[in-house]
Amino acid sequence: MSARDLFTFSNPHFTRGVGITAAILIVTAIVGFIILPFAQPWVQFANVWDAICSAAGVPQRAATVAAPEQAKRLSAVVLTSNTLSRPSQEAIGRGATLAQRCAICHGPTGISRADSPNLAGQYAAVIYKELHDFRSGARTNAVMSPFAVNLTDQEIADLSLYYAYLPRLPAYHPTPQLPKPNIVIYGAPMRGIAPCGSCHGSLDNKTGSPWLEGQSEAYMKAQLQAFASGDRRNDISQQMRNVARAMTPQEIEQAAAYYASQPPDVVKAVD
C-alpha cells in the first residue's frame, strides 16, 4: 500500500470520492453564485460576473454620492481604552495650570458647587471627549462652549489628565444615600435599557462613559432630558439618546436623585 496506489484514477475510491465531492461543490457553487442571485427579482445584475461577485461578497465601493450635509455637527472623537492611558507628570502639571480658568464653575478642587459636573477623578477619556465635542460644536452650552473653542489638542489632553489625576472627594450631600431604584440596578430589559451601572462604573465601565456618583442632581436630570429631546447628541450611535428616550420622567428623576446621593468612593478603581 502506498500513496501511489491511493491517489490514482485507477483506484475507484479515489475517482468516486474526488468526483462526487467536486460535483457537489460545482453544483452548489452554480446554485449559490448564479441561480440564486438571479432568483431575487428585486436585485438587478448587469451580467453573470456581476452576480457572482455579489454572491461572493466582493467588497464594493459605495456609489460616489456626496453624503447629505448634516444640519448639526456630529462627534468625531475616537476613543479606545488606551486613550490617554499613560499620563506623564509634565502633562498633569500643565493641566493644573490650565485648570485655573475652569475653577470658577468646576471648583478649585474639581468639586462644583454650581451644579456643574464634578471633575476630580473623572475618567480622562470622558473629559477628553467632552472638551473635543464642545470645541467642535457637537455639544453646545452657552457657558462652556466659549471656554473650549480655543483649546488646542495638547491642552485638552493635559486638562483631561490633570482632572483624572485629582482624588475623588466627597461632594456636598445634604440628602442621605437613597436605595437603588430599579432603573439603576436592573435597567428595563424589555425597553432595551441596560442597568446604568453596566456602563457608568459601579458594575462595569465602558470607555467614554463617566462615573456619576455624587454629581449634581439638577445637572444629571437636565442631561437626561436633553438626550431624550435630542438637544444633546454627541453620543455616537445614540446609546444615551436611546436609553433616555425610553425612560419615564419618573425614572429620570429617580436615577438622577440616586446618583447624586452616592459618595464617589464606590466607583470602580482605575487600573
Binding site: 500500500m1 457553487a29 449559490g32 442571485p37 454572491a55 466582493v58 481604552s81 453596566s198
Partner: protein
Amino acid sequence: MLVNRKLILAHFWLAFAVFGVALALGAWQMFIRSPIGTWLSNPELYYRSLTAHGTVMGYVFPTLVAMGFGYAISESALEQRLVGVRWAWAGFWLIVAGSIMAVIPVALGRASVLYTFYPPLIGNVFYYLGVVLVVVGSWIWVALMSVNLRVWRKAHPGAPVPLAMYANVAGSYLWAWTAVGAALELLLQIIPVAAGLKATIDAGLARVFFSWTLHAIVYFWLMPTYIAYYTIVPRAIGGRVYSDSMARISFILFLVVAMPIGMHHTFADPQVGAGFKFIHSAFTALVALPTLLTVFTICASVEIAARLRGGRGLFGWIRALPWDNPMMLALAFSFVMLGFGGAGGLINMSYQLDASIHNTQWITGHFHLIFGGAIVIMYFAIAYDLWPHLTGRELIDLRLIRTQLWLWFVGMIVTTFPWHWVGILGMPRRMAYFDFGDPAIAPQALSVTLSAIGGFILLTSGILFLVILARGMRAPQADAGPYRFALAVHQPATVPIALNTHALWVALMIALTLTNYGYPILTLALTEGTSVPAVYVGAQ
C-alpha cells in the same frame, strides 16, 4: 491490553472533575436567570460564570475524554503498548497548566468574553494563552495517535486497521485541522490585541476564523460517542456490528464534510457573501448523511443482538433487548436526543428558517440537547464500560448507574425542550437577566422555570455519576479481562486502501476548506479599514 492505565485514568478524572464544576455553574446560571432566582444585580458575575462553563465544557472536558479514550483505544485495539508515553504525559500537563492559566483571569472577572471569544471584546491575555496551551496539549495527542498507528502498520503490513483505531485517528485528524481556525484567530488577531501590541481588531474576520473551528469541533466532540456506538455497544449487548465498511464510510464522511460548513453560524453576518453561505448550508445538509448511516447501522446491529436473544417479529425484537444493561439504555437515550437535536439542527442550517431562531435561546437549547445530551450520555457509558478495566475493580451497582442515566435523560429533556420553545417565542440568548414581571415575557416564565428545574436534575445526575466512579475506585478487586471491541458480522480480511488509510479524506477535507473558506478569508484579510477598536473587559 491496557498498560498505561494511570495515564488514561488521569485524563478521565480530570475531565469529569472539571465537568462537575462546570455543571454546577451551569445549573446556577439557569437558576439565576429564571423567575425563581433573585437577580444578582451584577451581570458581570453571570458572564464570568458563563465563560468558565463554556470554556470547560467546550474545550477542556471533551478534549480530555477524547484523549483518554483515544489512548485506551490505541492500546487495546492495536494490542500494542502506547508509543510516546512521556509525550502523552506532557500533553496532559500542558492541559492542566493551560486550564489553570485560563481559569484565573476568568475567576477574577478579567476575561468574561464567553468561550466563543466575541471580539472586539478582549479579555486578559492569559486566558487566551491558557486556551492555546490546552489546544497544543491536545495536538500532542493527535501526533501520538498518528505515530502509534504508523508503528502498528509497520508491524502488520496490509492488515486492516481495527475499526476503533481507524475512527479514533480520523477524529484526531479532524480535531487537528479544525482547531487551526481558532488558533489563527487567537495567534494572529486576539493575542496581539490582548497583549497590548495592537488596539484594533477585524471582528468580522475573527468570526469567520472561529466558524472554521466552531462547527467541526462539534464532530470532534461527537467522535468518541460514535466510536462507542460502533465498537462498544454491540459487544456490550451481545451483538455484532452490522457492517464494518459502513462504519468506516461514516467516519471518513465526517472527516470530509464536517469541516467546510461552519459559516452557517454566520448567516446573520454581513461580511460573508450570500453565495458562500449557501454552499456552507448545502454541505451542512450533507453532514446528516453519516449520522443517518450510523443510525441505520447501529439499529441493524442492535437488531442482531435482539434476534440472537430470541427476539421475533417486525418490531417484537425490541422487547428482547437487554434493557437492564446500562449500555443499551445509554444508547437508546442518546438516539432519542440525537433525533430531536438533529431535527433542530436541520432548522439551524437552513438559511431562511435560521432567521427565526438565530441568536435565540433555541440555539442554546439545541447544542445542549446534542452535546450535553446525545454525546455526553455516551461519555458516561464509555467511562462505565472502561472503568473496571482501568481500576481492576468491578462497578457493582448497576441500578445506581441506570438511575444516573435516566436522570440525565429526563433532566436533559426537561431542560432543553422548554428552552427551544422560548427561543421560538423570540427570547434572546446570552442575556443575564429577564424581567418576567413585564407582560410581554411573563407567559414565558413557566417554561424558563421548568428549564431551570431540569438543570438541577442534571446536576443531581452529574453528582451521582462522580459518586459511582469514585465508589468504583474502592470496590473489591476483580479481573475484568482484556478490553475488547465489537466484532463485525463479516470481520474484514482485507479493506480497500482508501478505507484503511486517511490520506485521501484528509486531502479532501483540506481542499474543501480552501474552496469554502479561502476566498472569504483572503478578501477580509486584504480589505483595508475593516478593523474596529478593541473593547477591553474591565478597562476604564
